[in-house]
Point group: C2
Chain length 229, copies 2
């Protein structure tokens, strides 16, 4: 029996892979317009590399890019990239089309609904507010400390405790086998993988963990949960 | 004879005092709506105090505010403040009404026009881009290193050199006697004080420095400059 559904945030509530990819494309286009000497393709490849090495919360991706291609270094090129990046992210901050409907449906049927995400709490809450989703969840758990992050069972157990339900009655929905699915199983919860975003392309066999269910559209969550009961 | 006019950025090209004040008001309103337990007046007073002690580029103003008033600490309150603050700043990022016209007029009469500002270069360039002013200036100098910042003559001398004119032929326009006027004089330049924003309220006598001209509207710059020749 399921009592609660715990959603991951990035690439589960909204298409963060597409959002970031569009934002990087627009940033690079503006930077080239502003005088960065390289092709769109090369700039994007280097930017992806910088982001993958330094992490998504590193604040100087565009400085590094200009450092590589923009001799002499010019801050106006950095600034034009930063603006285009943030403006694009702001505009494309939208929940998956049927997400709100799905959550309302789950709530109507009596399920508790939560969010379990890793990241910087203020940044993750900013996303929930910009997505217009803050009123949709009974609890939100953001694990900032590395040792508490997925696939640790800790944030999932914390959410279950907060909702007042046993871990065995929680179902986790997320895109990452290495984080959401493994973490859910570590906490004794069932796990649905949503095939959305770049991380969902990693084969489950590579992680050695198998999702209990696989869906390709967030609206399929409701059907899977009902099937469990 | 004047050949070049060097403008300060904040509170000279746009009303940054009003912009920040509106942004803080809207941030605090949203935070109280989200559950911060205090009056608008108290929250604003504490926020002003935090900003004045920690500086405007400190990234955790709203965390500190919630730390003081928001027991138990909640990140959703911080995030709602951050969003309202940035959305307001974005909307109120507009040049003073007659600024563009004034610069075009100066350029038409053959004067070179530059910006000399202190701050983080990417952030200051972001402002110029968002203000739609990047094409209006022949040179932009942003002094990041404390020892090069106003009232040091260095950024002014650097701008003059960059424009290829003697310091004695540059006129500086800025709101701060302690930075712009004193710095201009240190560089051997004439200085016009614009009475805009909170810093312009500091009495020149307190600094021991007197502006060569005082104006209350940016469009008066053209008249003063023409009067010099």
């Amino acid at each position: 029996m399921a009592s609660a559904v715990l959603f991951d945030l990035d690439d589960t509530l909204y298409d963060s892979t597409k959002q970031v990819s569009l934002a990087r494309e627009n940033a690079v286009t503006k930077m080239i317009e502003q005088g960065l000497h390289c092709s769109q393709k090369n700039a994007l490849a280097v930017l992806d590399e910088i982001a993958s090495v330094k992490g998504s919360n590193y604040p100087h991706h565009f400085d590094d890019l200009v450092e590589i291609f923009g001799k002499p270094f010019s801050y106006d090129i950095v600034a034009s990239g930063v603006i285009a990046y943030h403006e694009t992210k702001r505009k494309y901050m939208k929940p998956f089309p049927k997400l709100k409907k799905t959550i309302i449906q789950l709530r109507k049927k009596g399920y508790l609904v939560g969010v379990v995400s890793d990241g910087i709490p203020t940044k993750q809450w900013e996303k929930l507010i910009r997505l217009g989703l803050t009123d949709f969840f009974d609890c939100v758990v953001i694990a900032e400390k590395k040792s508490y992050q997925k696939p640790s069972p800790i944030p999932f157990e914390y959410a279950a405790k907060n909702l007042g339900v046993p871990a065995g009655e929680c179902v986790v929905v997320g895109d990452r086998v290495d984080k959401d699915i493994l973490g859910a199983h570590n906490a004794g919860m069932q796990a649905i993988q949503l095939l959305q975003g770049r991380h969902s392309k990693i084969k489950p066999e590579k992680i050695g963990e198998t999702p209990d269910y696989i869906i390709s559209d967030i609206c399929d969550v409701a059907g899977v949960i009902e099937g469990l009961d």
